[in-house]
Symmetry: C2
Subunit: 428 residues, 2 copies
Amino acid sequence: MYTNIPKNALPRVLIVGGGFAGLKLAQSLDRKRFQIVLVDRNNYHQFPPLIYQVASSGLEPSSIAFPFRSLFRKNNGFYFRMADLLHVDTKCKQAVTSIGRIDYDYLVLACGATTNYFGNEHLARHTLPMKTLDESMNLRNVLLRKFEEAICSDTERQKELLNICIVGGGPTGVEISGALAEMKRYVIPKDFPELDINTLRITLIDASPRILAAMSEKSSATARKDLIALGVDVRTELRVLDYDGETLALSNGETLRTKTVIWVSGVIAKEVQGIPAEVLGRGKRILVNAFNEINGQNDVYAIGDQCLMTTDPAYPNGHPQMAQVALQQAKLLAENLKRSLQQKPPRPFLYQDLGAMATIGRNKAVAEIGKLKWGGFSAWVLWLIVHLRSILSVRNKIVVLLNWMWNYFTYGRSLRLILKSNTKSSES
Amino acid sequence: MYTNIPKNALPRVLIVGGGFAGLKLAQSLDRKRFQIVLVDRNNYHQFPPLIYQVASSGLEPSSIAFPFRSLFRKNNGFYFRMADLLHVDTKCKQAVTSIGRIDYDYLVLACGATTNYFGNEHLARHTLPMKTLDESMNLRNVLLRKFEEAICSDTERQKELLNICIVGGGPTGVEISGALAEMKRYVIPKDFPELDINTLRITLIDASPRILAAMSEKSSATARKDLIALGVDVRTELRVLDYDGETLALSNGETLRTKTVIWVSGVIAKEVQGIPAEVLGRGKRILVNAFNEINGQNDVYAIGDQCLMTTDPAYPNGHPQMAQVALQQAKLLAENLKRSLQQKPPRPFLYQDLGAMATIGRNKAVAEIGKLKWGGFSAWVLWLIVHLRSILSVRNKIVVLLNWMWNYFTYGRSLRLILKSNTKSSES
């Protein structure tokens, strides 16, 4: 394999990871001053806030993903390579990837975070994550298969198959719980009239005293009330100790018989070989200074979920791992890299909190902007608008909007296909 | 596992396979007189005529697939089970499936056909089929990966990776060749400006003297001319002898270095254990009488691609394996089963040829209706209308139409995502 990236007179910025942070940086960097190389393991950028809708058969994966090559069609001096990062060689200023070594002048790590099983192998093996598009497609298939299997099972096994537990009461856990509760109400009774719908149970488990712990108490209470109204069993101050694929062991000594555990309980930053352990902070996040430069490294940066910055006075313990932080850091880094070429001092990062929101179901959401905290229909409409605006490409905006309208008015989910994986390739 | 299908007073028709034939039969049978059980290995009906558009990134799989449970939502007395047929026990009047034994009063086999490798293990292992939705998704992923790989390869390997050979000059082979040629012209130069587009070669190989051999010589010639104009190398009277994943051996002694061989060279009927070998005809098709009853069997029928009927005076060698034959046989069988309950004699099947068509590219198709044979824009528009009408569900019609319009006006393909398969399940 060759990397086939031509050297030119411009300094090269190598960005690893094309999530919110990496993509924004690639789009914001001055292409007249830098050669930009973006490396990602997928050939597309994905939009995590709507992944739960793919998992719950509301959207197609293609609606919330966008091929990098389309995004940079008209840009000379931009190179995309689909590859895995193996390790970083800071001495030689090279990233070692699955397609070979790539030289850099500036390296930016934007690899994001992955599901955190807190070191428990059983949880990693038996529970279902929902962090990537591939995982959400798999989750959709698994869920739909459980219903088909339940139809052909005795009552006891039906209960196990249809006892869906969601572990983690953050926005993702709340949103998938709400979406599944709506499927239970509007879709399953029509698709599976033979099933006793009461057999299907949806339980949301969180270790904190309240769900949506990062939001206000008021929003937490509204979300809890709405979820309970939808039929979700919300259980807080409860930790999952273990799971063997059949029995979920809880911290209060209770056990639950379940075949389906969705694990959205937390994230851990992706590890990069070659980055010294002493610069890793909480959740394996890479410690950076106020300019996103990795402590003790020259010309190596980390942005987004993968980094931990404690220099922002308002966030002495680091910023939340959210899209907004990633986008703002990427934008500032693009500017600071340009300033460094101009011999100007860099500007420190200060996070502008634009608010937080989570949707629960039809006409139901919670939103917080500054001191304003509210729920209900208007919060839900705002959620729709904000997310629709954030999706890349006109085509995907149209497709998502049409899907939402269709699902809203028909109370349906049209995409209930179990697509099998097929790994045959002409190379095997 | 239990089948959990309640017995009632009505005779049970068990249909195996929910393709054109099986689905049409399930929809046409009189639900007041029969209990209907449909078994399929997938939970959705797929629309094969547009599978090539999924493979070539023009449509999403969900646009041409429809969950069985949605189709029969309002029908009492209909049962769908997702299961594999293991064998047929005609003595006990039972089908043995992966979820258990299912009793029948009437059994209808509508399992269709699968890709025919003519017994060549190498071809089965190394070439890419395109008969099912899963296969077309895999083909899409493989094709897109080849381009990413080519970017990182030397010129010699680029040629192998981008030398795409399509084996089989029927409608499917013609349609995928045309679609790939249009990708070469409109999409690849924009997405992969670093690639020399001339490295990408598309070769259509057929053993017959002409492509679209089932259509008229005029249509064949039009299709050939159009494909050549699009840049496809059309090679007829040439057979593939072998392929080891690198080198394609041809009957004229020539060899081609290629990493991508799409195999659409013919089909073979699905085999069913328990059906005696003596009732199998050409291409493993099950021999049936004029009423689609399997020769020598009572109350066991075969319809569609899986059967071979030689009683139709216009088709002494059997009907072509086409959607129209399947649909018409299913409709007549529904009527004949009802007539048998009414003690009326069954009506023999006579195929009404409604014509044939194949699309080649933008504004280009060939069509034949009776003695009328023509090509060009109006044939292409007719092709669009006929296929749009045939797709199930209003939602899918809208989605396909919008996709077609989008792709037509933007000269684009929006769905170029390499979605990895992920087989993790909470059951493992």
